[in-house]
Symmetry: C2
Subunit: 396 residues, 2 copies
């Protein structure tokens, strides 16, 4: 059974013709462009006699095999993009899923378990939070007041979101995605098999100094919040590095007050983020930082986010490895530092995530690029893993 | 001849009743509150039969002695404040000047040289630039297109500004001001005699890195502009400290791009400032920084401002020292890190600047405070220096 290279690449090209104006590809969540891409999905399935359905919030599904049975295998990703993003983040996984369905269908093989491709809405950062479509599908949305206020600014009702919880009947989830990092490229590896989606731990840090006139306050008398913060940034870098890969730490948001050229900064606010595969280690990193910061500086540190890492299915990891070995594909087992729809799905079923390399690790950028041979290889590994799962319908 | 402590402190209290709403004192340049304070100046002079005049842009002057002669002695400062500023920055110098006039007048002493007090408009940062009133008085305003556009947003015409150049006939300028730093307080010194107003040299610095996803870009692969900038800040601090007091260096304006918690910063922009009494040394500081930054980082550095230091009058410094010595006042000769109207005046006549301590060096803040005994002592030194100048009308 083969992946049709030409068909796969053509579908990717087709869906990427749908974009708002600007550089690269723009199909923001809940906009006309995302809607058009989801319509394209349905029309493409129709043209290949693949059964489709739309849930109440507009996630779309195409199924081959008997869709009334249990133990369904789900393949998914998303068709929305960031503003002026690339052609591969999300679209690759959906299109490769469609190609897998088409390959299964034209092969005529009897499927013990139905195979469904999902295009989830709103995976990228949006007013309802990232991976929103897949979280709704998995019944993971909380309806607190803050959420309800945001929901009013969208086309959706609470009822539509609740009705979109539709994961029952599916046992396994697979997603193909570009890595969005350089690990595979640097090691010359063709496939990444993800064992964990990184947890995220963020601290809000405020560093206090004393604002003063930049001309009149002598160096030795200063309590310069920015100088304090500079030292903290370098120490944070040192701590994160001491934990080694795949742990990463970033200060991405940083502001200085009052931010005037002639005033010694009185306060600096920043958000410090740690990502990694084990929550305990992530906490140790932030604890070491907090201890250092509190010992020598006037700081206020509070937890902003703690999202534990998600472990993916060992069985699917083993299947993925077997498929790669049998096909002579160089693979490595790795962490995903970014979040994906697979993270939502991993809460409710066995889930797997497969990476292909992307040029220089560039993503969320018009320059995002994955080579055709890597795209085809990714779809082949996806298909191979689906076939392995066909032979396993007894739970894990 | 004595300073009237009660009258001096009462005048300071009176003028500070004029304020917009908010904490502390607010008399922004060119607003109704500044106008009201200038009116108060004129009314106060009228009540003491001190001759006044207003120039075309509204700087006000009060004179004792024969104002038609040459060799006038000018005392000045300003009555505008920053938003929610204090009671002393500017007002102290004007009120002390008025008290000097009143003391001279009631003493009935014949003045060889007329003595004038000026309240200059718009000394604090404003749309036309700081020390605007005194620069106009000294004929230092340039009328380029940028300036003319700004002028249209003010109540002033070009003609009014040009007509306000009125420094001819004056030979010497004196200003009393709070230090706005901690030097006097820390050394237990009662009076600062300023020998130079610091020059200002500012560089625009851009540090380039590569923006990347905070979860997917491994530590070793990152080119984090904020980490680079942190190292540069600490090295700048080290270089400035190696030059010793009174040189100071500040990074007050600092911004990170794209400033998102999940993106490794791709670019940092900041403004680096050096102040000091010698332009060559200031240039050496920025050169050392630039050399270091360019050697190890991807930076773009350009000059933003270079304002040379202003040397004040040696004769007036000597007079001030004599007055202090004769009165048993502890003084030190020092640099002013902040700009003052005396800087404008030093371009066109012999100028002196006298500091009194202010609590914790706090200024531009409702908590700005100078003790009554320091205020009175400052006015006494001002009066003493005027008397020394009375004996010197032969130029220097």
């Amino acid at each position: 059974m083969n992946i049709n290279r030409q068909r796969l690449l053509s579908m990717l090209e087709e869906v990427n013709r749908i974009s708002a104006e600007g550089e690269g590809v723009t199909r923001l969540a809940y906009t006309a462009e995302e809607d058009a891409a989801l319509d394209w999905f349905v029309e493409t399935c129709d043209a290949h006699s693949i059964e489709t359905r739309r849930d109440a919030m507009g996630n779309v599904f195409g199924t081959v095999g008997n869709s009334s049975g249990d133990g369904g295998i789900l393949i998914g990703s998303h068709l929305d993009t960031v503003k002026e993003g690339g052609k591969y983040d999300g679209a690759l996984g959906v299109v490769a899923g469609l190609e897998v369905l088409m390959a299964l269908k034209e092969n005529g093989e009897r499927l013990d378990r139905p195979v469904t491709v999902a295009a989830f809405r709103g995976e990228e950062a949006n007013i309802l939070g990232g991976t929103f479509g897949s979280r709704a599908f998995c019944g993971l949305v909380g309806f607190d007041d803050t959420f309800m206020e945001k929901l009013e600014q969208t086309p959706f009702t609470e009822r539509e979101i609740r009705e979109s919880a539709g994961h029952e009947g599916y046992s396994d989830y697979l997603e193909l995605h570009i890595e969005q990092g350089k690990s595979l490229e640097n090691s010359g590896t063709e496939i990444g098999i993800v064992d964990a989606i990184a947890g995220i731990r963020r601290l809000d840090v405020t560093v206090y100094g004393e604002a003063a006139h930049s001309g009149t306050m002598a160096m030795g008398e200063r309590d310069d919040a920015l100088t304090h913060a500079a030292g903290l940034l370098l120490e944070f870098e040192r701590i994160v590095n001491s934990f080694g890969a795949p742990y990463v730490g970033t200060v991405g948001t940083f502001s200085v007050h009052p931010n005037l050229a002639n005033v010694v900064p009185g306060r600096v606010d920043f958000v410090l983020e740690v990502r990694g595969p084990e929550i305990d280690m992530m906490r140790r990193i932030t604890e070491q930082f907090t201890e250092y910061a509190e010992a020598g500086h006037n700081v206020k540190i509070s937890e902003n986010v703690e999202k534990p890492p998600s472990a993916l299915s060992d069985v699917i990891i083993e299947y993925g490895k077997s498929v790669c070995r049998e096909a002579g594909v160089r693979y490595e087992v790795m962490m995903s530092g970014a979040n994906h729809d697979a993270n939502s799905l991993s809460s409710v079923m066995n889930s797997g995530l497969i990476f292909i390399p992307c040029l220089n690790g560039v993503s969320h950028n018009p320059g995002e690029y994955a080579a055709p041979e890597d795209i085809v290889r990714g779809a082949e590994v996806l298909l191979g893993t689906v076939m392995k799962l066909q032979g396993n319908n007894c739970g894990q």
